[in-house]
């Protein structure tokens, strides 16, 4: 639960990990005065000696000091912002420091000692939102920017903020409002038109509703890609110990690609490694540390593999040369149950072809596996083909129809998905002659869903639309 106080808060705004520089943000009215306690100004354009005296939107060079010992922590640049013209709408200070984790921790500690508390997650955006600095949709987009790590993610997040997605949604919403108003005039009043004219108008309503439905559907289809951009594509490497998983993992995460974080699984004995493949954010999951026991099932690692494979978008199923067709077939069934993209990887191809390969392929094809690739991680053979499998999977996800408009936020997706369903019901009502008011009812429910993203409410604006556009009779 967020607290709704307006105490000064601070947090590091650049991502965790080591970087060249880091930006630490402070927000809250009076935060400059508090920060004076742990800051020293060396050079500024107007010879100001205190951070709080810096005019808004100017910078100063200086350092952060420990307020209890007066010892220098790091040389930094301070920027001062005045309320209400800042990101949060409050007085703000930004400290650009060096990027090491230790320096950042030390600066935050000094700020804490000066009376500035650590921010809760998302609290800056929350304040900006409460102070009227951004709409709910923009606030969510900012959260996505904060979480985005690759170029494509930034693009998807940016399109919501810069208004590309907003524009599309506004267009859909406005059109739906117009149709709702039109339906109301059918429902509420004797329209004084003859039947042919009325039917023609109704056809126009239908066409518009269908168009909006198509657009919403396209947006929803784009969520497949959008979700991967915000949550990453999960690829599980499954197979027996010594089937070549780790070598493949190392090759795929080779030094030319940035390893973002390395998280050791806590309960499942898995390793997750984040890489970018052709701009696509991917998490590779390696089921390491499987114990060998007498229990055949356990030694196959099936139990853990199922765990790791669950929730994965793609599975690479490793088949070393010495694995028999029966061994492959007995284990794979449970593993691939929930996943619709499974690739059989004949590993260690440098050590020779699997003698059962033909039989294995035939059996796996009966389970719906279509993709078979021989690789040698040692000799970097066909690794690019494996990458292509990932790229193709991503490219084949829907979403191209909306000119690159991608929904990345799961809440938006769920609202639009529901809106889409309700709009389909609205169209059904017209097709089945259930009456314009029934269509209108479903349409309003649809607009309610969209309104939860755009922050509008339905009934408040509907009556005005009617009055401004139509002559109303008896």
């Amino acid at each position: 639960m967020y607290s709704y106080d307006d105490e000064p808060i601070c947090a590091c705004s650049t991502p965790a990990g080591i970087s060249g520089i880091a930006v630490i943000r402070i927000s809250g009215n009076g935060c400059g005065k508090l920060a004076d306690k742990c800051s020293v100004i060396i050079r500024s354009s107007g010879d100001y000696s205190k951070l709080s005296e810096l005019p808004g939107y100017t910078c100063a060079f200086g350092y952060v000091k420990d307020p209890s010992t007066d010892l220098k922590v790091d040389e930094v640049v301070f920027t001062h912002f005045e309320a209400p013209h800042s990101y949060t709408g409050e007085e703000m200070v930004e400290i650009s420091s060096h990027g090491s984790g230790a320096v950042k921790q030390e600066i935050l500690k000094c700020l804490g000692m000066s009376g500035i508390r650590m921010a809760y997650p998302g609290e800056f955006s929350r304040r900006a939102f409460i102070n009227g600095k951004m709409s709910l949709a923009s606030a969510e987009a900012v959260m996505d920017v904060i979480n985005s790590e690759t170029e494509r993610q930034l693009e998807a997040a940016g399109s919501l903020m810069s208004g590309k997605l907003s524009e599309e949604i506004d267009h859909i919403e406005k059109n739906l409002y117009d149709q709702a108003a039109m339906l109301e005039t059918f429902t509420e009043f004797d329209t004084e038109d003859d039947e042919a004219e009325e039917n023609a108008k109704l056809e126009t309503v239908k066409d518009n509703l269908s168009d909006c439905h198509d657009r919403l559907t396209a947006l929803c289809e784009g969520y497949g890609k959008g979700r991967i951009l915000s949550e990453r594509l999960r690829v599980a490497l499954l197979g027996l110990p010594n089937s070549g998983k780790s070598t493949l993992l190392n090759t795929l995460t080779g030094f030319d690609r940035a390893i973002v974080t390395e998280v050791a699984g806590t309960t499942r004995d898995t390793i997750e490694v984040q890489v970018n493949i052709n701009g696509i954010p991917v998490t590779l999951i390696d089921t390491a540390g499987i114990r060998e026991t007498e229990d055949i099932i356990e030694s196959m690692g099936i139990g853990r593999a199922i765990e790791a494979g669950r929730g994965a978008d793609m599975i690479f199923y490793m088949i070393p040369p010495d694995m028999t067709a029966d061994e492959v077939y007995s284990g794979v069934q449970d593993i691939i149950e929930d996943c619709d993209s499974v690739t059989a990887v004949f590993s260690k191809s440098d050590a020779g072809e699997n003698p059962d390969r033909e039989e294995i392929e035939t059996k796996l094809k009966t389970l719906g596996i279509k993709s078979f690739i021989s690789v040698s991680a040692e000799e970097d053979l066909n690794i690019d083909k494996l990458e292509d499998v990932i790229i193709d999977y991503y490219n084949e996800l829907g979403g191209g129809a909306s000119e690159g408009l991608l929904i990345t936020n799961s809440r938006h997706y769920s609202k639009f998905h529901k809106a889409c369903k309700k709009l389909a019901l609205a169209l059904d009502a017209l097709d089945n002659n259930l009456g314009t008011e029934v269509c209108a009812s479903a349409l309003r429910a649809c607009l309610d869903e969209i309104g939860e993203v755009t922050g509008k409410t339905v009934s408040a604006t509907l009556a005005d639309t009617i009055f401004s556009r139509f002559c109303i009779g008896k």
Partner: protein, 645 residues
């Protein structure tokens, strides 16, 4: 003025003591007085003229789109408008039959004079109720500023702990025809003077609105051969559920009186545009704000320039008069122009105008100053209902009247106010809109104002409101038992339709062919068949062998519930969300300035409006969803703090 001050006035005297005093005996006042008296309170009803009780000064009709639903709701709650409208109807129609059942709306042409006579006689026989002809000029309070009674023009003082003012269009009214302005109430009746000053002096904010009415013409002077005839219908249920239960149905269509319709001509348009400079609306003489949806004919031509003609309905005023009402032809142009306008209409070339049209301006209370119970936020014990709250229409007035009457009684009985919410009835939508959003023009009910329109049907108002009416004591045990039997019958028959499967026989094929539906491949339930377009309950009679004869209202309800099941469940989902916010109560004494994070505009609006719950707060203009979120969190924090002691 306080009671003490009133008693000190020269010639003043104590005329009596009542629990509830109702000022004004129009549609709101009659319902309010009836409800209060029925709930056991000693009630007095004041009117300027006992011969004009429950007058219909404008349309001689009751019901219509969304208004028909209101009348049925009033009846379901235990009110009297439905019974009167059934009794005095001269023509009944069900509007919107070409549309879905959610917007079917009963509408009746009424005998205006009989309506007034019947209502007066009915109220005269109600126990605990006194009718009194008097001109009330002041609301009296006690020394603490609470409602204590009223004073008449003749200085009689009536003590009452609760006062319901239903002043209609009478307070400081002016009638306007072109350049001619007369200080008068509607329909040639006296206006009410002094009462609005009395309210103002107590700190109640007032507004000024305008409305209008068309001419009445003698039917002997009309050539009906040039008009389109509109007859009444059979198979329209009565307004009153109690009549429906007893089988008291409207007269057959052949005994009903027809209405007529014509279109305005180019000449009409010409006469109006030549004389627009003489319209008080455009010359600036009328300052009150008029209704957008019931505009005068000159307003229609001015605002919708692309429409070259408008439809006018010619309606009978009753069985014992030749007067015909020109619906849709209201105007405030001078009388000499009215003459020309009317004569430009087909069939009205020789029209003999019996009453001229006029616009009327009147004082009202800003509805933002009243609570959802219709009690004033300024003067405790004062209730207002009807046009004084900014509404328009007899049905809207009556709906508020019954709520105000009930809540005046609840207040005196020490019980919690009865609030009908937006999901329970059009009357809930009406009152909620008025008290949370306010209005800057006379507010008319429309079905599009209701979010849960598929639920708020004319056929199920009893399911929505009769249990409430019974609980508070307006609906008798006997009526309630019959109601419960009806609900049970609907449930049983719906269940049977869902569970009865029919085979794809040739007999079924013939039935389905007749509505262009294909025969199912295997057996299908009767309910699934009814869900198909154009398949009705009645259509399936030949193949539904076990069907027992049931009244039309029951089979209609079953058919509706089944046909619209999917859509009704969408609305149910919405209603649940809505109720969640309505449940979060806001203490009346909440200090909004203590809530951090609330925007200034929201703080001011909320402090002024004092909404009863978060749902209502969310509907106040200027309060954003973010503000509501902050408010919810704050209330939750307070609650937890309290729980933790």
């Amino acid at each position: 003025m306080t009671i003490r001050e009133a008693l000190e006035q020269k010639n003043s005297f104590e005329a009596g003591t009542f629990d509830v005093a109702v000022v004004g005996a129009g549609h709101a006042g009659c319902e309010a007085a009836h409800a209060a008296a029925k709930l056991g309170l000693n009630t007095i009803l004041f009117t300027l003229s006992l011969d004009s009780l429950a007058n219909l000064p404008c349309n001689p009709s009751i019901g219509g789109t969304s208004k028909g639903q209101l009348v049925r709701e009033i009846d379901a709650l235990g009110g009297i408008m439905g019974i009167m409208a059934d009794k005095c109807a001269v023509q009944m129609r069900m509007l919107n039959r070409s549309k879905g059942p959610a917007v079917y709306s009963p509408r009746a042409q009424e005998d205006r004079v009989m309506y007034s006579i019947e209502m007066k006689h009915y109220l005269e026989n109600i126990e605990n109720l006194t009718l009194k002809q008097a001109h009330i000029t002041a609301l009296l309070t006690d020394d603490e500023g609470k409602t204590a009674g009223v004073m008449t023009e003749g200085k009689s003082i009536y003590r009452a702990h609760a006062v319901v003012i239903c002043s209609g269009t009478y307070m400081e009214a002016r009638i306007i025809r072109g350049e001619v302005i007369i200080e008068s109430g509607p329909d040639g009746l006296p206006r009410s003077c002094g009462l609005s000053d009395s309210l103002k002096s107590l700190g109640i904010p007032l507004l000024r609105f305008k409305t209008g009415t068309p001419v009445r013409v003698n039917s002997n002077s009309i050539d009906f051969s040039q008009m389109t005839r509109q007859d009444g219908e059979d198979d329209v249920p009565p307004f009153s559920y109690r009549n429906e239960m007893e089988g008291i149905l409207p007269a057959p269509s052949e005994e009903q009186i027809p209405c007529w319709s014509v279109w305005t001509t180019d000449e009409t348009r010409q006469v109006i545009s030549d004389n627009m400079d003489r319209s008080p609306l455009y010359s600036g003489e009328i300052k009150g704000i008029g209704p957008r949806y019931c505009p005068s004919i000159e307003d229609k031509f001015m605002r919708f320039k692309d429409k070259t003609r408008h439809q006018i309905f010619v309606e009978p005023m009753g069985r014992h008069t030749n007067e015909m009402y020109l619906q849709g032809f209201s105007t405030s142009l001078p009388e000499e122009i009215q003459e020309k306008m009317v004569k430009s209409l087909p069939g009205l070339a020789n029209a003999q105008i019996q009453r001229a049209a006029y616009a009327i301006e009147y004082d009202l209370v800003d509805p933002l100053s009243i609570k959802a119970s219709l009690e004033s936020k300024v003067v405790p014990g004062l209730f207002t209902a009807g046009q004084i709250n900014g509404s328009s229409g007899y049905e809207e007035a009556a709906a508020q009247g019954i709520v105000a009457g009930i809540n005046a009684a609840m207040l005196l009985l020490g019980k919690e106010a009865v609030i009908i919410d937006r999901s329970q009835g059009y009357m809930g939508v009406l009152i909620d809109d008025l008290v949370t959003k306010g209005t800057n023009e006379p507010y008319r009910m429309m079905t599009s104002r209701a979010e849960y329109r598929l639920f708020l049907r004319q056929d199920n108002a009893d399911e929505r409101l009769t249990p409430i009416g019974h609980e508070i004591g307006l609906i008798s045990d006997e009526v309630f038992e019959k109601f419960e039997k009806k609900v049970e019958a609907i449930a049983l028959e719906t269940e049977r339709l869902k569970k009865t499967y029919v085979a794809p026989t040739d007999e079924l094929k013939v039935l389905l062919d007749s509505v262009n539906q294909t025969l199912p491949k295997s057996g299908e339930s009767l309910a699934d068949l009814i869900k198909r377009p154009d398949v009705t309950y009645d259509l399936l009679a030949p193949i539904d062998k076990k069907r027992k004869p049931l009244p039309r209202n029951i089979t209609f309800a079953c058919e509706t519930n089944i046909k619209y099941e999917g859509y009704l469940s969408l609305e149910k989902e919405k209603i649940e969300k809505f109720k969640n916010l309505e449940k979060i109560r806001i203490p009346e004494d909440l200090d909004y300035s203590l809530i951090k994070g609330l925007r200034l505009e929201a703080t001011q609006k909320l402090a002024k409006m004092k909404p009863e719950n978060v749902g209502r707060a969310s509907r106040i203009s200027g309060v954003s969803p973010a503000d509501c979120e902050v408010l919810i969190v704050y209330l939750e924090q307070q609650r937890r703090r309290k729980d933790n002691g």
